[in-house]
Amino acid sequence: MGKVRKGVEVSIAIADAVAQADVDVIAAYPITPQTHIVEHLSEIVANGELDAEFVPVDSEHSAMSVCCGSAAVGARTFTSTSSQGLALMSEIFFIAAAMRLPMVMALANRSLSSPLSIWNDHSDVMMVRDAGWICIFVENGQETYDNIFCAFRMSENPEVMLPVAVNLDGFILTHMIEPVEYEDDELIRKYLPAFKMKNALHPDNPVSMGCFGMPEIYTETQMNREVGVRNSYPHILKAWEEWARLTGRQYRPIETYRADDAEYCIVTMGSYGETAMEVVDALRDEGEKVGVVKIRLWRPFPLDEFRSAVLGKRHLVVVDRAITFGGQGGPVATDLRSALYKKDGAPTIVNYVAGLAGRDVSRKDFRNIILEGKKKAEAGDTEGFTLYGLRG
């Protein structure tokens, strides 16, 4: 495929990116809550356009199990799921990270049952927040396409060796037709050379993976894992920098918009960032000194970059897309409050949970959230969270 700009459904663009990344194995449960991503991949493989094994398994638990097996032999591996599928996969999802098996998942974020819902929020990924995967959030089709390649590059780095989830908002992105600039196959091959895994399963070099760990060794394995996730950070930056050098499109762990001279900011993760930027433009015209802070890299959490983006602001209005029932706010706000605790110049945080299960959050809603949030902050009403748009 040559460099071309086309109007394409984002799910199809992901499938095309995975094919361009020349994966060896795709394992996925093909039915609900699956998206068009693996449907199109199965067509690409069936048409002989990609030399890969497409394994249509009986459940997501099996999908992630197949992915672990193929990654363990050093095959470039991809899967995709959402909501209940991720829940069913969760047992093996943790194992993939613990065994440091490189693979990429397009995680089309959708809400967890019950009530049964197929629409978008972040409750699925927050369920596996602590699994030890690298978690990236994207805002539009182009970012999704680009980050599939970046994710493979991060994942397969011998200094990283971690699975990577590219989180994209279900429906808002997966089912949207957008203009996406495809890169040339030659550029992709240069960016993503063939993968050679250290300690891959092979009869000539036998190793044991996923062994039994007694209390005498389990603690050490977890520290090894924790440091592994933290140490992936500079390599994540390098993967994005190299992509920027080749394509001109640069990604950062924390991205800001009109935030430098802002007195306060709205903080988003995922596709809401685009709406927030439009609303901030309008509010700026009215004299509000507001900016946007967007979290692109959720794990490992970019603590220093986040702090340097927000220290000195008066307050932050953090929009979460999931509830931590009985907790102290949405998962993002809870993390950010912890990141800023007792830091000089730390802004206060007002937390909104909005857009659960695909309830639309329009420009008008963002405007309300930003201005109401500012009032709450000024009144010192900064504990817990507000469920935006709630009736009753």
């Binding site: 613990a98 065994m99 440091r100 098996l101 060796m161 250290k198 300690n199 036998p206 190793v207 044991s208 993976m209 062994c211 760990g213 007694m214 005498e216 060794i217 603690t219 050490e220 394995t221 520290m223 090894n224 440091v227 592994g228």
Partner: protein, 97 residues
């Protein structure tokens, strides 16, 4: 030989805690788990090897006299050999005796 498990530091572990030293499970002597041990009546043993086949620890071997015995360094005393023996020549005896 690798370090004992309780002396390995987190920095010394392979990525993903992969074990690159093949066969090191023999260093882990599971016999200390045992509360009962299998005792074989050699004369009754028909050498069918059922015990050898069923032992989950893989610690049963052919003794010099031709019958089959568990290696007590590894035998956990699960009693599966005694339960499977078709001629009932294996008895589980409490270790305290």
């Amino acid at each position: 030989m690798a370090k004992p498990m309780d002396q390995i530091t987190w920095q010394e572990l392979e990525i993903g805690a992969v074990v690159v030293e093949v066969g090191n499970s023999t260093q882990y002597e599971t016999g200390s788990w045992r509360s009962e041990r299998p005792v074989v009546e050699k004369e009754k043993c028909i050498k069918c090897m059922f015990c050898w086949l069923y032992c989950p620890e893989g610690c049963i071997h052919e003794a010099e006299e031709g019958h089959f015995e568990a290696d007590l360094t590894y035998c956990k005393g699960c009693g599966i050999c005694a339960a499977e023996c078709p001629v009932k020549c294996i008895t589980m005896i409490g270790e305290e005796k």
